[in-house]
């Protein structure tokens, strides 16, 4: 065990290494102390969706999901991972809920219009949420379905809505964060959770409750091809490196996200530098109006017609 003095010296060197000065020493020390007191107790639920957020986390390379959850979370239950099944699984959730002080991570939408379209055990997901939401200290809406409705809410049959909208309609909305993305890239989840675990408060959020660290700017503003957009050099063919994909209906100019800054899968790519337009999977409008569609004919679309509504 280091002495208090040594501990503070370590924190100072982290602060210098990361920020170039010692001004964050006490904040970093406070973070470590909070982490020592107890990790975040998390219940993970999958609603009407595809488990893409969980799988995206399993694909995380740096850090690995297991390492991350060991350091920051007490992951009490997860439908893809929990050993417990059936009643035993439900009992764990009920026990954690009764103690309160837990974070609810939710992926997928909620079939408000047809509750039978998503059942967990003997109850509908709607009932499970009505029970858990009032007791959760924080709701994290993981992925576009949970944050805005996404693909699941494009169906008129199930009347699916985002978990945020569901909670709002039931008057159960307290503290919450939206983390859109289809799927949600691991860093946005891990960064947000680590911030909350280490400070006890939410990171700075925008008016739609998305963390500013990841959603403050349009993808377009960070895009490697922004220069070509400025110079009006557009590609009329997919798979053509070194030109702007804007005329294919790229949603980068309207989608708040940080894909160009933190490439996926420990590699160097995101959609646009894989030479395919941003489809705005983190945008509230995703998967877009069926008539207009995701992609446009580049020969038809006039330059500088920014496509898609304001985010």
């Amino acid at each position: 065990m280091p002495t208090r003095r040594e501990f503070l010296r370590y924190c100072a060197s982290i602060s210098i290494g990361l920020f170039g000065s010692t001004s964050f020493t006490s904040a970093i020390a406070r973070g470590f102390e909070l982490l020592k007191q107890g990790k975040l107790r998390v219940i993970w639920l999958s609603g009407l969706g595809c488990s893409g957020e969980s799988i995206s986390l399993f694909f995380s390379e740096d850090p690995l999901f297991l390492d991350f959850s060991r350091a920051f979370l007490d992951l009490m239950s997860h439908p893809l991972l929990s050993t417990a099944q059936g009643k035993a699984y439900e009992e764990i959730i009920a026990e954690v809920a009764a103690q309160g002080e837990f974070v609810l991570c939710f992926e997928g939408a909620v079939p408000q219009g047809m509750p039978e379209a998503c059942r967990v055990g003997e109850r509908t997901m709607n009932q499970v949420l009505e029970e858990l939401l009032p007791r959760a200290k924080l709701l994290i809406a993981c992925g576009t379905c949970a944050a805005f409705g996404g693909v699941s809410a494009a169906s008129p049959e199930t009347g699916a809505v985002s978990v945020i909208e569901f909670a709002g309609r039931k008057g159960l909305l307290k503290d919450y964060v939206r983390l859109p993305g289809c799927p949600l890239p691991p860093w946005r989840f891990m960064g947000t959770v680590a911030y909350f675990a280490a400070t006890g408060k939410l990171p700075p959020l925008d008016e739609k409750k998305r963390p500013k660290a990841y959603y403050a700017r349009y993808n377009h503003e960070h895009c490697q091809y922004f220069r070509f957009f400025n110079e009006d050099k557009y590609t009329l063919k997919l798979s053509e490196p070194g030109k702007c994909l804007f005329r294919f209906g790229c949603r980068g100019p309207r989608t708040y996200a940080d894909c160009p800054l933190r490439p996926w899968n420990g590699g160097a790519r995101w959609c646009v530098n894989a030479y395919t337009p941003c489809i705005g999977c983190a945008h509230p409008g995703f998967p877009w109006d069926p008539q207009k569609g995701i992609y446009q004919n580049p020969k038809r679309l006039q330059p500088k017609t920014v496509f898609g509504e304001e985010a």
Binding site: F58, E61, C118, Q296
Partner: protein, 460 residues
């Protein structure tokens, strides 16, 4: 004395599943596999442009992410009158090989192992592994430590596989570079080399850790070589044809005989599914599952990696040889452990194929043929692809540049189908009937998971 028992929800699978069993003196007399979720994606696609369908069908399932995108791209290529260039064909196969292997790893280590190993005995096991362990699970501290180490390492390998795939797909899950004409990505020689390195690493893990772990587990639970047989009918569509010899052959295995496969024999029954006139109808009186009941010539079929190996000459013999090494007869393939073993053997075959495909990609040659997103095309087509749990079918009808009909039949739809109009139970239901069970129903979970259920796929 008959009594009803249930596992709801059945965890460690994708999606929402409930299994009801009727017990008669410790034996399953009747079983029902109940799909608990419906999203309506096929309907969402109608009226959209076909290229939108490629993006949206990927979202059918977060576990089978690339499989659906590739199936849709294949279905659409002839309708757009394009043929992907050789590079794209190599990439399709390499991505599928990596994708299926990553899924197999997640299925075995994260979803299956907790059924057999008591991780609560390891001090540093995460909380979600500590509750609900079974009395007959492996308890020796050395063994538990070994499996927990593999459990962690497998996720590291999955991430490596993701990195290799993203060289071609842009990102994982849901690679947006997949189009009917091929891949939009232009990987450089260095990137292809790094993908090969990661694939080789994964292959090494499969040979040195995954396959030995499956055999080790099988040796500890030999009884699971004789339970969970199911109907014993297998179906495989064949695939991974980028090289001169396809990896998997198409075929049907019915009543112990091999027959040629004819897609015309596929029919979806909805007598016990929550649909009326092709619309969702959860109040249907005789309905009990959201899953439809596809049948081949009126028969329930199992679509798993076991079927792919069993119907391909050469691979079947390999599986039988491995079974022999474990002291098991040929018939033991049709069992819980037989399926796990088939999956591990398949992973090796898939990765070797992926490596051979990666060798052949020419970084200077084109990777795709362009298509017009607003083309006024019409036509219909059926395409097949492989998902980790079994073979996959996409049927699409396009009229004047818009999707007019989309039909997906996934392997889980076959495996977890309810009864059909003639009252024949689905494959998993059949696999459960006759099973001897304990009061905690752990045997039921083990049989069900050996089919690798993916419920979001199955209903869509």
């Amino acid at each position: 004395m008959l009594h009803k028992s249930t596992i709801a929800p059945l965890t460690r699978i994708e999606g929402h599943l409930k299994v009801d069993v009727v017990l008669d003196g410790g034996r399953v007399k009747d079983a029902r596999a109940i799909g608990e979720t419906y999203r309506g994606i096929e309907k969402i696609l109608c009226g959209r442009r076909p290229l939108d369908a490629v993006r949206i069908v990927q979202r059918l399932c977060g576990v089978c992410h690339e499989a659906h995108g590739i199936a849709a791209a294949r279905a659409l290529a002839p309708i757009y009158r394009v043929e992907p260039p050789p590079n794209a064909r190599y990439m399709f196969d390499a991505v599928l090989g990596l994708h299926l292997t990553c899924d197999h790893l997640i299925h075995f280590y994260q979803m299956t192992l907790p059924d057999y190993v008591d991780f609560s005995l390891a001090k540093d096991a995460p909380f979600f592994l500590q509750n609900g362990c079974f009395p007959d699970s492996i308890k020796s501290s050395q063994e538990v430590r070994h499996y927990l180490e593999s459990y962690s390492r497998s996720l590291e390998m999955v991430a490596r596989g993701g990195r290799a795939m993203a060289v071609f797909t842009g990102k994982v899950p849901f690679g947006h570079s997949i189009f009917p004409g091929g891949f939009t990505t232009r990987p450089t020689a260095e990137e292809i080399f790094s993908a090969r390195e990661n694939t080789a690493l994964l292959l090494n893990f499969v040979k040195e850790v995954y396959l030995p772990d499956v055999k080790r587990l099988a040796r500890s639970f030999p009884a699971y070589f004789s339970v969970g047989k199911g109907p014993g009918n297998l179906l495989a569509f064949g695939g991974l044809k980028a090289l001169s010899k396809p990896v998997f052959a198409p075929g049907v295995y019915l009543n112990g005989q091999k027959e040629p496969f004819d897609p015309k024999n596929i029919f979806e029954d909805t007598k016990y599914s929550y649909y009326r006139d092709d619309r969702p109808f959860p109040k249907k009186e005789e309905g009990y599952s959201w899953v439809k009941a596809p049948r081949y010539g009126g028969r329930p079929m199992e679509l798993t990696p076991l079927g792919r190996l069993w119907l391909t000459p050469g691979l079947k013999e390999r599986l039988i040889a491995e079974l022999k090494g474990l002291g098991q007869p040929e018939e033991a393939a049709f069992s819980v452990m037989g399926r796990h073993l088939a999956r591990a053997l398949e992973a090796e075959v898939l990765l070797k194929h992926a490596l051979a495909c990666l060798e052949r990609i020419d970084p200077d040659a084109p990777n795709m043929v362009d298509v017009d997103p607003e083309a006024d095309i019409s036509g219909e087509n059926t395409a097949f692809s492989q998902a980790a749990r079994g073979d996959l079918l996409h049927r699409i009808k396009v009229s004047q540049g818009r999707v007019s009909q989309y039909n997906v039949i996934t392997p889980t739809t076959w495996n977890f189908s309810p009864r059909d109009a003639s009252g024949i139970p689905g494959p998993v239901e059949q696999a459960l009937i006759g099973l001897k069970v304990s009061s905690d129903l752990r045997e039921v979970g083990r049989v069900v998971r050996s089919f690798d259920p993916c419920m979001a796929c199955s209903v869509h």
